[in-house]
């Protein structure tokens, strides 16, 4: 697994308090990992800080799963 994916996973695990095994490629933050809408905003903010990038609101809306997040950040970073 790439370094970016590891760092994203760490943030998700810490923030949502879920087990690492549950954070899979297609795991949806809201449907599978128990995030509410505010959690998704906080996750995006945490990604922005961790990777020093800006994630615009319209892009943030497309980040639904762990895989989406890794893909977006890999392309942006």
């Amino acid at each position: 697994m790439s370094d970016i994916a590891d760092r994203v996973k760490k943030i998700v695990v810490e923030h949502l308090g879920v087990e690492e095994e549950k954070v899979t490629e297609n795991a949806s933050f809201i449907d599978d990992l128990g995030a509410d809408s505010l959690d998704t905003v906080e996750l995006v903010m945490a990604f922005e800080e961790e990777f020093g990038i800006e994630i615009p609101d319209d892009a943030a809306e497309t980040i639904q799963t762990f895989g989406d997040a890794v893909k977006f950040i890999t392309e942006a970073a």
Binding site: D36, L38, E42, M45
Partner: protein, 245 residues
């Protein structure tokens, strides 16, 4: 009770009578305070009076860019903003039939839009620490209206609706958002009233007197405290019974 030791508070309009007293009371409870306002001299005087744990953070709230910067400056000075008190306000009174777009916009900008921008600016830190207090100073006229103050009343009522919405959004994160609606408070502004105006006003106040700035500051202290943590989305009316809602 009401110990704010280790907390940081940003207060807008701290150069005015009510804002200065809010700053004194929060500082007296142990908070580090950021004093914001447009007039630097009274801010410097207040900071000197308070001594340690006081920072002067001038800001013109009608300047959108400056408003965006203020939370960052406050965090740079104090390390965080745990408590935000949106107290600053301006009036541009006039009958609505004759009210200019400019007088409408200025009052909405400074009183309502800056409250929105500053609240948005401090939320990230509060959400992270799972503790935050936003106290917005509304007004009795936001509830009851007042001839000649359509713009001001709209802004002050807008603050209440905004606060309730935000309160619902962030309640799970230990962040509370409340309003205080002062009635007539004795300040430099009300000193200008003549005796007749004063008499007419007092008959409308069951308590038979105008409020003091400390009445407002005490309400802020409660809402900013740990003890007030279960109160959110509320408007605390501090008006001597003038409007009971």
């Amino acid at each position: 009770m009401f110990d704010l030791t280790g907390k940081t508070a940003l207060i807008t309009g701290a150069s005015g009578g009510i804002g200065a007293e809010i700053a004194r009371v929060l500082h007296g409870a142990g908070a580090t305070v950021g004093l914001s306002g447009t007039r630097i001299e009274p801010l410097e005087t207040l900071a000197a009076e308070l001594g340690a744990r006081a920072f002067v953070l001038p800001c013109n709230l009608s300047d959108a860019a400056a408003v965006e910067e203020l939370p960052k400056q406050a965090i740079a000075a104090m390390g965080s903003v745990d408590i935000l008190v949106n107290n600053a306000g301006i009036t541009r009174d006039g009958l609505m039939m004759r009210m200019s777009d400019e007088d409408w916009e200025q009052v909405i900008d400074v009183n309502l839009t800056s409250t929105f921008r500053l609240s948005r600016g401090v939320l990230r830190g509060m959400m992270k620490t799972r503790w935050g207090r936003i106290v917005n100073i509304s007004s009795i006229v936001g509830t009851g209206g007042n001839p000649g103050q359509a713009n001001y009343a709209a802004a002050k009522a807008g603050i209440v609706g905004m606060s309730k919405s935000l309160a619902a959004e962030v309640a799970t994160r230990g962040v509370t958002v409340n309003c205080i609606a002062p009635g007539f408070i004795a300040t430099a502004m009300t000193d200008k009233l003549n005796d007749e105006q004063r008499e007419r006003l007092l008959v409308k106040i069951p308590a038979g007197r105008m409020g003091e700035v400390r009445d407002i500051a005490a309400a802020v202290l409660y809402l900013a405290s740990d003890e007030g943590g279960y109160v959110t989305g509320s408007t605390l009316h501090v008006n001597g019974g003038m409007t009971m809602v």
